[in-house]
């Protein structure tokens, strides 16, 4: 599934034109991205949380040469699915 499928569903559900629906979907993901870029986390009840985590410098090794290198500190994004979403996904096959 891609963004186009989500746009189609909004178009059918609410009756906005495809162009308008597409703009709204872009807005939603745009807002999510801007928020995460600023380091703020996002909590979507019943779905999950997107959290920006700070990783410290650490020493790693190049597995090919065995050379020790420093992996620089960085910020990463993690998604923690809610229990509701996990249950929903597991209940489907039963």
């Amino acid at each position: 599934m891609t963004k186009a499928d989500i746009v189609e569903r909004i178009h059918q559900k609410i009756g906005f034109s495809k162009k308008e629906s597409a703009e709204m979907v872009e807005t939603v993901f745009g807002l999510l991205k801007n928020t995460l870029e600023s380091g703020e986390k996002i909590k979507i009840a019943g779905f999950g949380n997107f959290v920006v985590k700070q990783k410290a410098d650490r020493r790693g090794r190049n597995p090919q040469t065995g050379e020790t290198i420093t992996i620089n500190a960085r910020r990463i994004l993690t998604f923690k699915p809610s229990q509701v979403l996990k249950n929903a996904i597991n209940s489907e096959e039963k």
Partner: protein, 92 residues
């Protein structure tokens, strides 16, 4: 940011939306992702990331209190891989 804050912000960018309709838009986005994952499909949002299902194999574990061996069944878990664009934006 919570879902209701997101709904409010979406209203502010689209003049044809009110809170109620904005809520439907935002819910449809997340419901669509959930439904695709439930049917075993993966979801790819360009510039944002992709959602896939990962299989966790069943294993035998022990109840730490009683020492009893318990069988943990296989289960599925949703997994999100951050897209390239977003990954770079988060990291600077």
């Amino acid at each position: 940011m919570t879902k209701s804050e997101l709904i409010e912000k979406v209203v502010q960018t689209h003049s044809m939306l009110n809170m109620k309709v904005s809520e439907v838009v935002v819910n449809t986005v997340f419901d669509s992702i959930e439904e695709a994952l439930k049917s075993g499909d993966k979801v790819e949002i360009r510039g944002f990331g992709s959602f896939t299902i990962r299989e966790r194999l069943g294993r035998e574990a022990r109840n730490p209190k009683s020492g009893e061996v318990v069988r943990i069944p296989s289960k599925k878990t949703p997994f999100f891989k951050t897209g390239k664009d977003l990954k770079e934006r988060v990291n600077c």
